[in-house]
Symmetry: C3
Subunit: 114 residues, 3 copies
């Protein structure tokens, strides 16, 4: 009834339950990269998690996006806009939040359906 994806004992990258894919905050692999690259890497990770859950980017219902600075807003959006299924973008919120590691410039917390 619950499926945990990539559980390390502290957090799972996603938990699938009740037809919903609850995801944790997804970040880039390279924490020295600029915000465009970090956004691209975080979204690639999200695609992979969604695939493992049996979902895909067209089924993301909401996303909260954290940035290190609002100066990165347009660069993040350019990558985001190219990624989103234009037939139906998620409900979205975006704010500046200090993240767990100083190099991180963006963290994305999506919810999807199956």
């Amino acid at each position: 009834m619950m499926k945990h994806i990539d559980n390390n004992g502290r957090r799972s990258r996603a938990v699938v339950a009740n037809g919903t894919v609850y995801m944790g905050g997804q970040v880039a692999d390279d924490w020295t990269a600029d915000v465009a690259t970090q956004t691209r890497q975080a979204l690639a990770r999200i695609d992979a998690i969604l695939a493992e859950a049996g979902s895909d980017r067209s089924k993301v219902v909401s996303a909260q996006i954290w940035l290190k600075t609002m100066d990165d807003y347009e660069a993040m959006n350019a990558v985001w806009d190219a990624w989103v299924d234009p037939a139906g973008a998620p409900a979205r919120s975006c704010g500046v939040v200090e993240m767990a590691h100083e190099g991180l410039r963006v963290e994305i917390i999506p919810t999807a359906i199956l």
Copy 2:
């Protein structure tokens, strides 16, 4: 199965799926107004989105509220308290988060059921 409300290709104001209304961060129309006015305008927008989704304020299950400064906490709460259905207030969290535009004093991210 998914209904997107006011999709502009970057974000929808809400996505309805699985009996749930996932909403993005809702803000005021007038970004020069004080926090009470901005809260009132954001909540009016939420009412309109809920109506379009086939829900209403009594069915909001949770809300995350972002403020520009905690100095606005009481003024936001006064408007919020008058808006909420006293028979059943949503689960709520409220913190200071820098938002996408400098004039914004409050952003509200609700989830509702149908």
Copy 3:
């Protein structure tokens, strides 16, 4: 169809609907305590709310964690790691967000299923 837990007219501690337990931001009782104690107290409160909702910590699907400062990250994690059901940790995000009261060092916003 909706069950409100500890509704004070402004917020409920949790709302149960559609098989889901939507929780507000949970904090410690003692706002002068260090982050380890505050984390322990917030998690105890979450356990109590989950029990009242008919759920438990193994059914938490996601949690957003707010800290006063990232200097508290490891101390919070030590308490969190001991609390989490290792068979299946929730999807998690953690950032620095200024909370409603100055003494608060941690606030946890979980979602669970029944």
